[in-house]
Symmetry: C2
Amino acid sequence: MTSTSFGLTAIGNALVDVLAQVDDAFIDREDSEHGMKRGSMNLIGAPRAKQLYGVMPPALEMSGGSAGNTMACYASFGGKGAYIGKVGQDQLGAVFGHDLKTMGVHYNTTPQQTGVPTGHCLILVTPDGQRTMNTFLGAAVELTPDDIDETVIAQSAVTYLEGYLFDPPQAKSAFYKAAEIAHKAGRKVSLTLSDSFCVDRHRKDFIDLVNNHVDILFANESEIMSLYEVFDWNDVPAVIEGKCNIVCLTRSEKGSVVFHDGDIYDIPAEPLTKMVDTTGAGDAYAAGFLYGYTHGHDMMMSGRLGAIAAAEVISHMGPRPQMPLSTLIPRRAA
Amino acid sequence: MTSTSFGLTAIGNALVDVLAQVDDAFIDREDSEHGMKRGSMNLIGAPRAKQLYGVMPPALEMSGGSAGNTMACYASFGGKGAYIGKVGQDQLGAVFGHDLKTMGVHYNTTPQQTGVPTGHCLILVTPDGQRTMNTFLGAAVELTPDDIDETVIAQSAVTYLEGYLFDPPQAKSAFYKAAEIAHKAGRKVSLTLSDSFCVDRHRKDFIDLVNNHVDILFANESEIMSLYEVFDWNDVPAVIEGKCNIVCLTRSEKGSVVFHDGDIYDIPAEPLTKMVDTTGAGDAYAAGFLYGYTHGHDMMMSGRLGAIAAAEVISHMGPRPQMPLSTLIPRRAA
């Protein structure tokens, strides 16, 4: 086992977010006309992306992508990390790279050279703070096993994979390759299920992955229930029993629950002054937990750091922190 | 005189803003190493833009440009307007166009076809909310008199010009052409001085313009004092006497003063809950005043609408309103 250069390496769909506030009628109309699932991530092609953008209100552009957001939060806590994901050779790709690298995140995946644009996610935020995402994968879909940097993965304490990677077929292979490298080097593999519809699209593969290749699993209530097809939250502890070493389940305002070695830790949500936009809440939680985990903290404190990061991110528009998360670490954990 | 299709048409440098929060040490360092003027607009070339972006923290991207911001605010009040300004054929140009058109602003300036990128402004926001701007003009510099849409200008009650247009030489010609068309059609011409260093670069031309071609002038304290080279605020009323029909002078937290037909109107600043980022405050003030002016309101109410718009814009990151300004119009003016 080589020395640990990185606490966390994340692999994900490299996306720039295009965020706009809309009313509920906008979502209802798009749902009835285009089957847009409220509160979920909808995969869209180029024509639909163009059409939807054309009717969206003025927006703000910000680097996003689930695992990219997690790395931004991890670095904001002060953690040393790396990111692997594919952008195009264009302005939004340059923005994505800039925003990771200037946080100190190691990022050198070769941009796609074929003229395919950087992927983007059209995010519609309703007055209740809920976000409905519409992803045009663009260059992100071109991530292949060749993009997996073996040296980086082998030197990373934890490799973190976003479930969304299961949508582009080659990315899925990249995903398995990374998990294998990590385990061979004696490292841990973490996964977030990403979205209940994503779980639904790839349930069989996800179950195999979770049962056999994942050490630390992140999911929210609907994702974990979709994975194991249970319909009552009370049935969840039994179905995850013995599946992977650590399971972190987020429950919005009810906080989170961490399962580890037969023990169950209940972690309250952080008090909120306001909720503006839930985009990136789960990504931030994973970052906080993994920052704690890779810095010697126990389950309770790691979960609390997750809750702290999520609370910061949902207090404003956009999925990445606006203040250094390192300043929010409770004194006894610093 | 043809019928009025637009209340306001603005001509400006079409820019996308790249906004990041930095500490005071960052500004001091850039000032000492690159002569970056704190609180002002610094014109930069492509190499400096690349270098500065490389050291800037993660940013958010949003449509900007002084006159573009004014049109966004004018439309947000419910006003009907048009915009003329040049972007490149790229992703940021598409963002700029989208953000105006989806607010209902008429915008059909042909993008530059030569591969020159859309101009952008690297904006550094310090903890006091002050912004220091660094503009790479890009395609905006290519605005020519041919881009001036005669029909639009002739049908617009007011044509509004940003002083920054005096930096690109051809844009200055476009500027004079637009003013001539407007006056021939019996319309009003408005100008904002934009920046005290911009005034310094073009003082002689600005004085000629203000004295002979402008009906409604906007400036802040340092800009008007730079224009007439006076060093005491108390000397300002005498030097602007008889220069143009309406002069609106903004004074930050001290509010604004409107001079019209020998009368002086003192308008207080709106109470603020917080000041996050002053980017676009002057642009928003001009929009509010001109919305009032083009909708039959008196000087006091027009000035107050300016103050209301400015207060909204400085309460968050970015130069454009996050809530419909129409909802903030005092009931007696609605």
